[in-house]
Amino acid sequence: MHAKRWICTAVMALLPLTLPAAAEAKFPNAPVTLIVPYSPGGSTDIIARGLAEPFQKITGQPLVIVNKSGGGSAVGLTEALTYKPDGYTLVLVPSAFAVASKLGMVKFDQTAFDHIANITSEPLCFVVKASSPWKDMRDVVAFAKANPGVVTIGVGGAGTLAHMTALGIEKRGNIKMTVVPFGGNALAKTAMLGGHVSIASMHPSEFVSQMKAKQVRVLGAVTDTRSPDIPDVPTFKEQGIDFAWDDSRWIAAPKGLAADVKAELVAIFKKAAAAQSFKDHTDKMKITIDFRSGAALDKQIGVLFSEMAEIAKEAQK
């Protein structure tokens, strides 16, 4: 044990002598790990893998994707915090982090990370069958006011962003619905198409085929402004419900990142997010690239967490 430690110390001490060039070389001079808190093949994973190619082109170093799934995103986020904040271990944080934090699934909040760059945003939308009598959210609100609890809405799971969105709409729209958490968005969509629930909460990639076939109608999106992917869909804000957040994915590192490394990472991901290959990649998935860093990103995360705190309090009553 002593010998091992001694050798380690010696090697560490000698490293700067033998590799002066490497020590001074620009960040990154080794492969960077990106933890994805979901399993391989899901949309978050696909976003991460789309970044890997431009990342390597820009930096010359590979971006290694490591999937740590489970507990919403709690397992991967907790794992990410066990690494040194040297910029070589990053994590792709989903907006669902705010739910995990405010519902107590993880014991930390946004201050545990240095937030580097927002990469994508997907609008969450409320979708009904084409045969539904409701043309927009105003119809739903009017109906729900007259019949509290009768509007049923399927979401992709308890404690998901979609679930909290439904609760947020209830609160800000001053209505009462019955929120039914299914085991995944696909099952919520199935139940809506089968008429078991009246509304389903979905992403554009999940309803675009049905929308084209005129089998479903989109009542609204929970974004601040209209999403460029679905420009015809009005936001909830436009329809008088003051509630908006994005279902985003952003890059973060454990708190304590050196300022120059952080600046370098922001520059790298700005270029990577703008790369044509990444654009093609996300276009096909109907996911909007939404690059944001610095104060804009902090504001986005701040709003998300403060809104979530309010709704989570309601949820736990």
């Binding site: 093949g41 958490p181 299914f182 198409l193 675009v208 085929s209 084209k212």
Partner: protein, 498 residues
């Protein structure tokens, strides 16, 4: 017809066919190794398909899907360890056959019936997918609830000896499935603030622990006593006409059950196999042989799990709704290429849709040829002396479990449940009902609670649900049937078994 030809043109290219073959071979090995599943392999392969033409990528993934589901039978039959969750019913009769020196016959049956199941489901997929996809929509929470109640009554079939012990074991399984976030309120239950338990008990580590560890520990316990070598039974490698005739009825029922249950997005191959096994037992002329190593048992499970693959593709292609975990990843693989499954899929890109049908069909043929040709090598595994295979398998169990989500806590879950399984098997509690409870518990609970939520909004709907009522009636009938049948048929068997 034009669309079929266009699809055929896309598939009949060297690259696509090679990708399918590579997928089948890879899937076979991954399925055969306990712990590695087709879902995981496909997830990891997705990035490689980014740069391929759509059908080449889909061919590779479909090959893994088909190969993995049938490859999982090998370890079920030869080692008594389920290769994937969907192969674990295969063990009921497959492993006893190996113990009787009939592993060759069991494997041939497994590969042949996998092929039949896969092909039947492919034909159903290609011909009547659109109307069948309606079935997925008919199933709401109350239907899934009733369906899983029906599944739970199969405890009777899965418990072997004492029904009371079977019921207790199933309850234990359901209790274990309660660990993790509450499905409706998302509050953590029985997690003791552990981040590892926050995501619940994952199925595959539980399966490996419950099924693989107890026999390995038993072998290790009497390691010094003797070294057992099973006859590999290579002489019986060919498919016999008598065997095919014997499993004929099973093939029909299992293909249909597999395809239909495969279509339901909220179920899964593991449940389908239980039901198919039970059905095969019910229509068999020799139901008492089930569980002792009869080929109908192997056929019921293997035919059914491959039939679910075609079934699961039905809602994925027609509605854009994945029928199971694998098709959920396949859906991502298609979207990467800008192809969005759903009602417009066949309108927008008919060549790709028909190409997928054809590639799926070809995957099954390649699977059959490849696995039949290489069978004799696998059976050699059962010839390895116990003293080598036990430590080797223990290592594989740990490695396989770890690699599922590169998490050491999964290995702990596997080891702890292995200890539980060992203790339970010492006091002759059946293990299979625990798994049935683990698989059905979450479906049962969440759908019951969702039904209650929905019931409050529209109470009258409960009576207008023929599926729900039908399934519940069937479940009640099966319990009654069993209780009444037990009185007369059980006594002599009990005496001879005891």
């Amino acid at each position: 017809m034009e669309d079929w030809l266009a699809g055929l043109g896309l598939v009949m290219q060297f690259g696509v066919l090679a990708a399918i073959a590579a997928g089948v071979i890879l899937g076979t090995f991954i399925g055969a190794i306990p712990g590695l599943t087709a879902t995981m392999a496909i997830g990891l392969l997705i990035p490689f398909t980014f740069t391929m033409p759509p059908l080449m990528g889909m061919g590779l993934l479909l090959g893994v899907y088909v190969g993995g589901y049938s490859g999982g039978a090998f370890s079920s039959i030869l080692l008594g360890i389920p290769g994937t969750p969907s192969n674990f019913v295969t063990m009921f009769d497959g492993y006893p056959m190996t113990r009787k020196g009939e592993s060759g016959r069991a494997l041939t049956t497994a590969v042949f019936t996998s092929f039949v199941g896969g092909t039947v489901s492919a034909v159903i997929l290609a011909t009547v997918a659109p109307p069948l996809a309606r079935l997925a929509l008919e199933f709401g929470p109350s239907e899934y609830f009733a369906f899983s109640v029906l599944g739970l009554t199969l405890v009777a079939g899965a418990s072997g000896g004492s029904i009371a012990k079977g019921v207790w074991a199933a309850c234990l399984g359901i209790l274990i499935s309660c660990i993790g976030p509450d499905p409706i309120t998302s509050q953590p239950r029985y997690t003791f603030d552990s981040i590892a338990l926050l995501r619940g008990i994952p199925l595959m580590p539980a399966l490996i622990g419950l099924f693989a560890l107890p026999p390995l520990l038993q072998e290790a316990a009497r390691y010094c006593a003797e070294t057992q070598v099973f006859d590999a039974g290579i002489s019986r490698m060919l498919l016999r006409w008598a065997d095919i005739r014997r499993i004929g009825r099973t093939l029909v029922s299992s293909s249909l059950i597999g395809t239909l249950i495969g279509i339901l997005p909220g179920s899964g191959a593991a449940i389908a196999c239980f039901i198919s096994y039970d059905a095969a037992k019910a229509i068999s002329k020799t139901p008492e042989e089930f569980g002792t190593g009869c080929i109908e048992g192997v056929a019921a499970s293997e035919c059914c799990n491959n039939a679910t693959t075609g079934g699961a593709l039905v809602p994925m292609i027609v509605l854009g709704i994945p029928g199971d975990a694998v098709t959920a990843v396949l859906l991502g693989g298609l979207m990467i290429h800008g192809l969005i499954p759903g009602p417009m899929f066949v309108v927008d890109s008919p060549d790709v849709v028909y190409g997928i049908f054809i590639a799926f069909f070809i995957s099954n043929i390649i699977m059959f040829v490849f696995q039949m040709a290489t069978l004799k090598y696998y059976t050699k595994i059962s010839g390895i002396p116990t003293k080598y295979i036990v430590p080797l398998l223990l290592v594989f169990c740990c490695l396989g479990t770890y690699s599922l989500s590169t998490s050491l806590s999964d290995v702990w879950i596997m080891l702890i449940l292995g200890g539980v399984g060992y203790l339970l098997s010492r006091v002759s509690y059946p293990i299979a009902p625990i798994v049935l409870g683990l698989v059905l518990g979450p479906i049962l609970e969440s759908n019951l609670r969702m039904s209650v939520l929905l019931f409050h909004t529209a109470p009258a709907t409960l009576l207008t649900r023929p599926f729900t009522m039908g399934c519940l009636a069937l479940a009640a009938a099966s319990v009654l049937f069993f209780v009444r049948g037990k009185g007369s048929a059980r006594k002599p068997r009990h005496a001879s078994a005891g």
